[in-house]
Amino acid sequence: MVFFQNLINALQWGSFYALIALGYSMVYSILMLFNFAHGDIFMVGAYIGFGVSTALVSLAAMGAFALPGWLILVLTIIISMFLTSFVGMIVERVGYRPLRDAPRASAAITGLMIGIILETGNLALLGAERVKFPSLIETTTYDLGGVFVTNKKIMIVLVSITLSFALHQFIRRTRWGMAMRAMAFDFAVVPLMGVPLNRMAALTFALGSALAAAAGILFGVAYPVLDPYMGILIGWKAFVAAILGGRGSVVGATLAGFLLGFIEMFVPMIFPSTLRDFIAYTIVLLILVFRPHGFFGEAYSARLRL
């Protein structure tokens, strides 16, 4: 019973990690840089979701249009993903594009700085008080023979798997996705095949940020208290998942996100829970020692050639 209960929780946390990891993984594979601001984009997405849902709820309360809670949630997710994708594109345009030919270390540091700017910008804008994500749907708990599952957890897992699958299809089957895959193998030759590099970079950031926003809202549904630093730790962990999944692998990042959720949830079954992250990330470290390119990554050289 405890096992299945942990499994449910692992799936929920894995959903957050997977959605955020996808953004890290895409940007890393295509532009050869770690967008360390990505965890904070998750935070911004959650706040945008907070803003959108609060606005929709008060509109509904004013009687402008009476929408059921679940529809408000769906609209919140769609609108916030759209809005947050612009945040990602701005970050790319302002922070990364000018540094495209700079040493990779500079770009990594840019990410850290943008992260701090987003966190403190939020503080300046909304103050230090935590905000509460509006409760849009009632929690229903199902008792499956001693294992308790809430409708929210089911929704979180379904939404995250659906979005990962959609991204996977997008990358496999469209000209944009194909260009993204080609860029992951050879960045330099792609424009010579008629593909606009800057547009692809912007698109990559937009998609990653939209998924992070979805994760942020799902997180707000599960844990309704938001604060400006909520993205830091979860962002780092998702980054670990992205590396564990292998460079540029959508399937890998998704599976690794869930795997991380499982390790984190099952370690406390055996060891004291205060040691949870200590042991969980020791395991991850060991996996990487033996599979440095992750589960689905291939050996590559980061050298740009022409």
Binding site: F170, R175, W176, M178, A182, F185, M193, R305
Partner: protein, 256 residues
Amino acid sequence: MSLLRVEKMTHYFGGLRAVHNYELAIEPGQVRGLIGPNGAGKTTIFNLITGIYQPTEGKIMLDGTELNGRAPHVIASLGIGRTFQNMLLWRHMTVLEHVKMARYSKLTYGLAGAFFGTARRYQQEAESEEIALRLLKMMGVEQVADQIVLNLPYGAQRRVEMARALAMEPKVLFLDEPTAGMNPEELLQMMDIIRQIHGELGMAIFLIEHRMRVVMELCQKIQTLVFGEVIAEGTPEEIQNNPKVIDAYLGKEVVQ
């Protein structure tokens, strides 16, 4: 009017003058060659025309359109297809995907079409697949269309690269040492392929080569580049008998 025209193109890398007063005029359907010792600046000229570098001076016109200052992806879709000395394939993508990728700029469906799977997207993707398969057939590699490029023998990889360049429907095809690293048999096949492209598609071709035999047999007109300057230009016979060319390739004593 020439199809591709380069006027007084000069390029500096820092203080080093890599290309000096380079002139070129390719007529429709012409096969042109560019030869010269290692480091003469041949690939630099390709990179300048295809927009990877911006020339310090000079003007480049393709079919009446000025190419100076345009981004590489724009120049590519305006009609310059290219292969590379070291091939630059996307190792883990399939043969068919390589060729379809080069159709990117010919497809017009937008992001909305991509997400919602509009009829236009499916129709365009199907059409681009059909064109890709036709080109692979022409290159004789259609039976490996679904294989990953990494697993193909070297000669087949070269053909895939050629098909990729052709898929852009270029007005001029740039080939950077198409026979580099080939054995004699592959070499002959590659020469046949180039003849076939020229014959069936009537395409203008501009090629860099090290092997004299390839250039002499394929090209109607040849330029010899030494230290970034054209020292001789003419038909294969003229080039072969030009003392400056012999000098550059074999050293002074032979001439004297």
